[in-house]
């Protein structure tokens, strides 16, 4: 879209939205949010970027093919479940570690890596659809 206003504002909005999507993803463990909704927000950001600068720019910006991103997310989620095999507990059992980083205890878990996987699956799959639709719209 050849709109100067959109092209000027887009980088700012897109950056903010991606940041917000990651915030929503991490917030999701104990409060409303999570991988699915976070992923959708990220897709919205990428779509705006695509509307402003064209689909090719988005494809370059995300480096990997959207479906490859979805595949990586699916793999990450599966591995998060399979991690329990090492600890002799059933599939998908939540496993926690509490490392202290800069004097602050940071709880990390396989639940979180699973949710990051979901985030990537949603980003990849829906971006793939959105970009194809935008490409059709351009020609």
């Amino acid at each position: 879209m050849r709109s100067l206003i959109l092209r000027t504002v887009a980088p700012l909005i897109v950056g903010l939205m991606v940041l917000f999507s990651i915030f929503v993803l991490l917030r999701g463990h104990n409060e409303p949010g999570g991988g699915f909704i976070g992923g959708l927000i990220a897709v919205a950001a990428l779509s705006i970027y695509g509307i402003a600068f064209g689909v090719e720019t988005v494809r370059r910006a995300i480096v990997f093919h959207p479906l490859a991103i979805a595949g990586a997310g699916l793999l990450l989620s599966t591995l998060s479940g399979l991690l329990s095999m090492v600890f002799h507990v059933p599939f998908m059992t939540g496993l926690w570690v509490y490392p202290v980083i800069l004097g602050e205890e940071v709880p990390l878990s396989s639940v979180m890596t699973f949710d990051i996987g979901v985030y990537l699956v949603v980003v990849g799959a829906v971006t793939s659809v959105a970009l194809s639709l935008e490409e059709r719209g351009e020609d």
């Binding site: 490859a68 595949g71 793999l75």
Partner: protein, 519 residues
């Protein structure tokens, strides 16, 4: 921050005993398929690499399923609950002999399909994602066979449905889109019905765990409308399994995709519907199955007769085979209607046989098209002179699907006819035999026209070499059929044991709720 306090009694909520490596076999087929599918998605453009990964992965899957079957046949049903929560709150994967047998046969069929696809699916089909979709389809199929939770069963139905959409439109031709729309719409209706019935079931029982439902159904039988529920579920699964009169999606769609895709669908998809019907009607609601047995038997008879008659009338080999798939579904329904170890065992046996033989027949139709230049019976001729081995394999498969000895179709038919006669349902036995007769005529007509009829002048003739990747899976599947036909004792024993576990699921219940932990 919710940190578990050490004072709470965790044994009331969590599985505390360590999980052994053998228990992991329950979930591994599904996790493995999803993981490999994800990796294949990431290397989507490496079209040379994809078949290698997929074939190796499916070999491993078959190995896992075989070990699982061995484990289950030795130690009885095995359960693993997701996320450590005790059933019925955690989602349980429970595998008994029926599930393990189906899962193993599905893996074998998928492996054959993956090998045949090396030649049949070109580079653009691979970039389109044939192999990732195949692995995700197998995740859905394995999940459906192995789960012990009825909502989870619905989820796996969805997974395999979505993957099958992708496989169906591989290539995006007009005809394929047309087939996919019919297939997709009618299957979505069936899935929605299943979902509605599941909601109804949850409203009645307040649980989705199959073992828990078995226990609760015994208490609620007088108070709750279980027959209605069973009828709703049976209708949804019958639609999935392509039973008469809700089978129109199958002939409308199975001839449109690539032949390997048709072969995989014929081997896997309708059998998942039959499996779900067996699981629900025999294990969950045996009394209601008894009440509905006449309706199921009637649907079975109509399905097998219309299927066989449809096969007689077709001129396209793929459509003809589609009707044979339907006809086989009718025989399985007859087994479910009769019940007992003979009927249910016969239905399970027939389903396993049908998975192998229908896949092989579709692959054979693909090879015939390669030799004779099409799928139409009017143009196919003289295949016998073009490739003798292939013709011999086809003939054996025709015998197998018609239920003639010494091939795999013979034994389940014997079991079904015998158990039908034992219960006094002579008309059911007569219909089974008539169907066998009609199927023999239909396949004989196919053999006569496509293989024996001399090719007309100007038609290509002479011996032709076929690619090994297409011939090997066909030979392997035919060999499986012959082996089952010649040495049926092991499988007969297994399916009868499987039917007994379904009829009297105390060991299944014990596996989900070990002694002392009442639901």
């Amino acid at each position: 921050m919710a940190v578990s306090s050490p004072s709470a009694d965790l044994s009331a909520a969590l599985v505390l005993q360590p999980v052994t490596a053998l228990d992991w076999l329950v979930i591994l087929p599904v996790a493995w398929c999803i993981g490999i599918g994800a990796i294949l998605m990431m290397v989507r453009h490496r079209t040379g690499l994809q078949p290698l990964i997929a074939i190796a992965a499916l070999c491993v899957l078959a190995g896992i399923d075989a070990t699982l079957l061995w484990h289950v046949s030795q130690n009885g049903p095995v359960t693993m609950v997701m996320g450590r929560w005790l059933p019925p709150f955690g989602i349980a994967f429970t595998v008994d002999l029926t599930g393990a047998l189906f899962a193993l046969m599905a893996a074998v069929v998928a492996l054959a399909g993956a090998i045949a696809a090396v030649t049949d699916i070109n580079d653009s089909g691979r970039r389109y994602g044939f192999y990732p979709l195949l692995m995700l389809l197998m995740a859905g199929v394995s999940g459906a066979f192995l789960t012990g939770d009825i909502f989870n069963l619905y989820v796996w139905f969805e997974v395999l449905l979505i993957s099958s959409f992708g496989l169906l439109v591989l290539g995006s031709e007009r005809e394929q889109i047309d087939g996919a729309v019919k297939y997709g719409f009618l299957n979505l209706v069936a899935t929605t019905l299943f979902l509605i019935a599941t909601g109804y079931l949850y409203g009645i029982f307040g649980t989705l765990n199959m073992a828990d439902i078995v226990v609760k159904a015994r208490e609620l039988r007088d108070a709750a409308p279980l027959t209605t529920l069973m009828a709703l579920l049976a209708f949804a699964f019958a639609m999935k399994a392509a039973a008469f009169p809700v089978n129109f999606w199958l002939p409308a769609s199975y001839h449109t995709p690539r032949i390997v895709v048709s072969a995989l669908f014929a081997g896997l998809l309708t059998k998942v519907g039959i499996y779900a019907l067996i699981r629900v009607s025999v294990m969950l609601f045996p009394v209601e199955r008894q009440e509905l047995s006449f309706v199921i038997a009637l649907a079975g008879v109509l399905t097998m007769i219309t299927g066989a008659l449809g096969a007689l009338a077709q001129t396209d080999t793929r459509r003809l085979l589609g009707y044979l798939v339907i006809s086989g579904i009718g025989s399985m329904l007859a087994g479910i209607a009769v019940g007992g170890p003979g009927g249910i065992g016969g239905a399970v046996f027939y389903a396993l046989h049908s998975m192998v033989v229908m896949t092989a027949l579709y692959l054979a139709a693909g090879l015939a098209a390669r030799l004779g230049g099409g799928f139409s019976l009017s143009s196919l001729a003289g295949l016998y002179t073009r490739h003798a081995l292939f013709s011999a394999l086809s003939l054996m498969l025709f015998f197998a699907v018609s239920g003639l000895p010494p091939f795999s179709g013979f034994w389940p038919k014997v079991m079904l006819v015998k158990s039908a006669l034992d219960t006094g349902a002579w008309w059911l036995a007569a219909a089974l035999l008539l169907t066998g007769f009609l199927t023999t005529i239909a396949t004989a007509r196919l053999f006569l026209l496509a293989y024996w009829r001399p090719a007309g002048a100007g038609a290509p003739s002479g011996e032709v070499a076929l690619p090994a990747t297409l011939l090997v899976p066909l030979i392997a599947l035919t060999a499986v059929s012959i082996l089952i036909g010649l040495f049926p004792e092991t499988l007969l024993g297994l399916v009868q044991k499987a039917a007994l576990t379904l009829n009297e699921p105390s060991r299944y219940l014990n596996s989900v709720f070990p002694a002392g932990s009442a639901p």
